[in-house]
C-alpha cells in the first residue's frame, strides 16, 4: 500500500527519469549500434508501459504526481497527471516506440553519421515531452518547453550542411526568440496578476480566475503567451517549421508532427483551460484573437501548401494549418469545440506521422523528394502509398480515417456557438486539404511511371514499412474507436469525466 502510494507520487518523475536514463545507456553503448538501438527501444517500451499504468490509475480516479521542488511559494517544479496531460503523454510515448523502429530502419538504410547523438537527443526530447505533459505548473511547463527547443537543435542540424545550419539557426532563433521575448513577459504578467499570492500552478477553471488585475493586462498576457508558444505554429510565427524540415525524416515525423508542435498546442490548451479559464477569457473577449488568428493560419497555410513541390515542405505547411484546428477549437470556448481541439492533438499526431513516415520511406527507397516525381509510385511502393492515402484522408476529414471525428465535433461546436464565419473557414479548408493531398494520391496510383524509369516493386526497409503500417492502422482504428482519446479530451475540457 505504502509502496503503491509513493509510486503514484513519483511516477511522472520516473517517466522523465527513465528517458534520461535511456540517454545514458545510449551513450554508453555507442560502440555497438545493435545494443544502442536495443536500449532506445527498451527505454521507449518501459516508458510507454509506465504511462499506460498512469493512465489506468488515473481512470481509477487516483491522484498522481507531487511537487518536486518549491522554489518559493507558487513557483514550483512538480508533476500532476490530469486528462490533458495523460492524453499528450500517451500520444508521445506510444509514437516514440513506433518512431524508434522507423528511425532504426531509416538511419541504417541511409548510413547516417552521428547516430548516437541522434538517438540520445531523441530520448532527451521525449523526456522533455513527458515532463511538459505532466507538469503541474506553468513554470515546469516552460522549463520543459525550453529544454525541448535546445535538445532538438542537434537533431535539426543533424546533416551539418550549410542548408541544415541555416535551417537550424532559423529554428532556434524563432523558438527561443519567441519564448524569451513573448512567453517570459507573459509569465511575469501572470505572476504579477496573481496579486499578493502569485502562483504558477495550473488550476481547474484557471489559476487567474479570481484575479483582480485589469482586463487589458490579462488580455496582453494571453496574447503574449499564445505568440510566445511559437511551437503551435500560428502565423506569422510559423516559418521555423518549414525550416526544420532539413532534419532527417524521423525527426520531422516525431518532433515536427508530434512532439514539438504538439507541445505548442498543448501549451496553448493549458493557457486557455488552466491558466485563464474559459469564463475569464469570455469576459475579456480576447479569445477572438485566437479564433481569427487560427482561421487565418488554416487558410493561408493551406494555400501555401498547394504550391509546394517538395513533399516534406507540403506536409509542413499542412501541419501548420492542422495545428490551428486545435487552436480554433480551444478559442471558440464552446465545450464541443474545445473537446474537438484537444482530440485533434491525438488524431493529427497519428495521421501526420504516417504521412511523414511515407515521405521518408519514399526518400529512402527511391530518393525522391518532390511531389512532381511521384507518378506511378503507388505500384512500386503499394504499402507506403496506401498508408499515405489513409493519412491524407484523415487530413481532409473523410472516413474511414480518424480526422473526420475531430472535425465533426469541431463543426458541431462552431454551430453550437454560432460561429458562422468559422464554419465557412472549415469548409474552405477541407476543400483546400483535398486539393493538395488528392493530386498526390492520384499521381501515385493512376498516373503511369515516367518512361525510362524502373517500375519494379521496391519498398522501403522492413522496419520503416512496419512502422508506417502501424500508424496507418492506428489512424483507422481511431475512427472506429475514438473513445479513449475522446473521453480524455472531454474530461480535459469539461472538468470531471
Amino acid at each position: 500500500m505504502m509502496l503503491a502510494m509513493t509510486l503514484l507520487e513519483i511516477a511522472p518523475a520516473v517517466s522523465v527519469g527513465v528517458c534520461l536514463l535511456g540517454v545514458f545507456g545510449i551513450v554508453l553503448a555507442r560502440r555497438s549500434p545493435n545494443v544502442r538501438e536495443a536500449v532506445s527501444l527498451i527505454t521507449a517500451g518501459v516508458n510507454f508501459v509506465l504511462v499506460l499504468w498512469m493512465y489506468c490509475q488515473f481512470q481509477d480516479g487516483k491522484e498522481i504526481g507531487s511537487t518536486l521542488v518549491e522554489i518559493v511559494p507558487g513557483l514550483s517544479l512538480g508533476f500532476r497527471v490530469d486528462a490533458l496531460g495523460i492524453l499528450f503523454g500517451l500520444i508521445a510515448s506510444s509514437l516514440w516506440i513506433v518512431n524508434t523502429l522507423y528511425s532504426i530502419g531509416y538511419m541504417r538504410a541511409h548510413d547516417e553519421h552521428k547516430q548516437t547523438r541522434f538517438f540520445s537527443c531523441f530520448a532527451i526530447a521525449i523526456a522533455a515531452c513527458m515532463g511538459a505533459a505532466f507538469s503541474s505548473s506553468l513554470f515546469s511547463l516552460f522549463a520543459f518547453y525550453e529544454l525541448l527547443t535546445i535538445c532538438t537543435y542537434p537533431l535539426v542540424i543533424h546533416a551539418e550542411t550549410e542548408t541544415a545550419k541555416a535551417g537550424a539557426k532559423r529554428y532556434v532563433t524563432y523558438l527561443l526568440g519567441a519564448s524569451t521575448l513573448f512567453l517570459l513577459p507573459a509569465l511575469f504578467l501572470i505572476w504579477y496578476a496573481g496579486g499578493d499570492n502569485p502562483t504558477m500552478a495550473f488550476a481547474e477553471g484557471g489559476l487567474l480566475a479570481s484575479s483582480t488585475a485589469s482586463h487589458g493586462l490579462l488580455g496582453l498576457a494571453f496574447v503574449l503567451s499564445v505568440i510566445g508558444l511559437a511551437k503551435c505554429g500560428m502565423m506569422p510565427f510559423h516559418s521555423w517549421l518549414p525550416a526544420a524540415m532539413v532534419a532527417p525524416t524521423p525527426v520531422s515525423a516525431l518532433l515536427h508532427a508530434v512532439a514539438v508542435v504538439k507541445m505548442g498546442v498543448f501549451g496553448v490548451s493549458r493557457i486557455v483551460l488552466h491558466v485563464f479559464g474559459i469564463d475569464l477569457l469570455e469576459d475579456i473577449g480576447i479569445h477572438q484573437f485566437l479564433v481569427w488568428g487560427a482561421c487565418f493560419t488554416i487558410v493561408t497555410a493551406s494555400l501555401v501548401a498547394l504550391v509546394q513541390d517538395n513533399l516534406k515542405r507540403r506536409l509542413a505547411y499542412s501541419t501548420i494549418s492542422q495545428l490551428s484546428y486545435v487552436l480554433l477549437g480551444l478559442g471558440m470556448l464552446v465545450p464541443a469545440a474545445g473537446m474537438a481541439g484537444v482530440l485533434h492533438i491525438g488524431v493529427h499526431a497519428f495521421s501526420k506521422i504516417t504521412l511523414f513516415f511515407a515521405a521518408g520511406a519514399i526518400y529512402v527507397a527511391l530518393h525522391k523528394t518532390k511531389v512532381s516525381e511521384l507518378d506511378g509510385i503507388g505500384r512500386r511502393m503499394p504499402i507506403t502509398m496506401t498508408a499515405f492515402t489513409i493519412g491524407a484522408l484523415s487530413m481532409i476529414g473523410l472516413p474511414p480515417a480518424a480526422g473526420v471525428v475531430s472535425k465533426w465535433f469541431l463543426v458541431q461546436g462552431a454551430a453550437d456557438g454560432a460561429w458562422y464565419g468559422v464554419l465557412a473557414v472549415l469548409v474552405v479548408s477541407a476543400l483546400l486539404n483535398a486539393a493538395y493531398f488528392l493530386p498526390i494520391v492520384w499521381r501515385a496510383f493512376f498516373k503511369p511511371t515516367p518512361p525510362g524509369e524502373d517500375d519494379g516493386y521496391k519498398e522501403a526497409p522492413l522496419l520503416c514499412v512496419v512502422a508506417l503500417s502501424i500508424t496507418a492502422a492506428a489512424t483507422i482504428a481511431l475512427f472506429f474507436l475514438p473513445d479513449i482519446f475522446a473521453d480524455l479530451a472531454r474530461a480535459a475540457v469539461g472538468g470531471g469525466s
Partner: protein, 499 residues
Amino acid sequence: MTQHLPVLVIVVPLLTALIVPLVERVRRGSAWYLVTGALLFSTYAAIQMLVQVSSGPIEGSIRYALGAWSAPMGIEYVVDRVNGIVLTMVAVVGLISAVWMRPSLKMEIREQARGSYYTVFLLCCVGFMGMTITGDIFNLYVFLEIASITSYVLIAMGKRRQALYAGYSYLIVGSIGATFILLGIGHLYMRTGVLSMADIVALFEANPELFEKSDVRVAFAFFTVGLAMKMALFPLHGWQPSAYTQAPSAASLFIAATSTKVSAYVFYRISFSVFGIQFLESALPVIRDGLLVMAAAAIVLGPLLAIRQNNLKRLLAYSSVGQIGYIMLGVVLLNMDGVTGGLIHFWNHAAAKGALFCVAGALVYRTGSARIADLAGMGRTAPWTATVLTISGCSMIGVPLTAGFLSKWYLGAGALAADRWMIVPVLLASSIFTAIYVWRLLSLVWFAPKEAVPAVTKEVPWAMRGPALVLAAGCLVFGLSSISVSIARDAARALGLGS
C-alpha cells in the same frame, strides 16, 4: 574554536600567505598544499558561519570584537545573512580556483615566480573576505586596498606584455575609485564621529534630519562613484575587459568570479547598513534613478558588446559588465523580489562565470591563447569541458532550471512590483544578446565542420576538469533547488525589506 571563526577565516589565510614564500623556497611546489589547506579552512569556516546565522533569528548576526576591544574603540567583524552569502562565495571560489590553478600555472607562470603568485593570490582572497566580513568602514577601506593591490599584481603577472599595461590601467582607475571611497568615509566620519557601521546607521535612524545635510549626501555620492568604478559598472567599466583578458587564467577565474561582486556587495552594505533604507528611499532619488539607468545600460550593452569579441576571455569580461548590472538592479529596485534577485545572483553568477573562465583557462592551457575560433570541434576532443560550457552558458542566458533563470525571474518580478515596467524588456533584450553569443560558442564547440582539426587536442587534466564541473553543477543545483533563494529571501528580510 567556533566562536573565533569570524577572525580565523581571515587570519588563517593571512598568516599562511606570509609563510608561503618561505616554504616554496625550501621545497618547490609545496606552497600549493598550504594555499589549498588555508582556503579549505576558510571555506569550512564561512559555510559553518552561514549555517549558524541561517538557523538563528532573521536579523541575527555573529559579532566578533577584534582583540576584545568593543565597537567604538575596536574593530568588529560581523557575519549576518547577507554577507554570509558573499563570504561563502569568495571562499568557495577561492578554494575552487586554488585547486584548478596548479596545472594552469605550470603553463602560464615561470617556476621562480610561482611562490610569489601563491602569496599574492592568498592575500587577494584575504582582502576580499575581509571587505565582506568587516563591520567597520575604515577597516573596509584597508581590506579594499589589500584586495586591489594584490589584484593589480595578479593581473600584471600575465604572460604577455599587455598584461603590464592592463594591470597599470586598472591600478590608475582602481586607485581613483579607492580614493573616492576614502573621501566618502572621511565625510561620514566628519559628520558622525564613528566608524562602526552599526553605530553610524543607529545615528542616522535616530536623526533622520542628517540626511538633509549636504556632506552626508556628498559622502554617499563618493561611495557610489568609487564603488561603481571598482565594480566596473557601465560606463565605468573601461579597465575591466583588458584586465580579465591579460591576467593569467587562474587569476581571471578568481577575480572575474569574485572581485567586482564584492564591490557590489559593499555597495549593498553601505546602502542598507550604513545609510539605511530610509535614506535610499527618500533622500536622493536622482542617484537611484541614475543607478537604474546605468544598471539597465550595463545589462543591455554588456552582452551586446560581448557578441563581437574574438577572444573568449574578453567576451566573458564584457558579459560580466552586464552581470554586475543585474546585481545593482537589485539594490536599486529596493523591494523584496528585486533584492532577492540581486542577492541570489552573487552565487549564480559566481558559479556560471567561474565555470566559463575555467573553460577559457582550459582553452589557454591547450592552445596558448583564448581565441574563440580555437573552440571549434572541442565537443569531440574535450566533451567534459564542452559540457561545462554548455551548462554555464545556458545559465548565463537564463534558461529555466538553471540558476540564471531565477535571478532574472526575481529581478523581473521586482521590477514589476516597483512599477519599473521598462526593466522587463531590458532583461529580455539582454537574454537575447546573451543567447546570441552563447549560441555562437556552442555551435562552434558542438557543430564544427567535420574536416576542421580541433585546436584543443584533448581534455585538460582532472585537476582542472573537476573544479569546472563543480561550478557547472552549481548552476544546476541553484536553479533546481530552493537553497539559494530561501537564504537570499531571508537576507533581504534581514536588510529590512517587507515580505
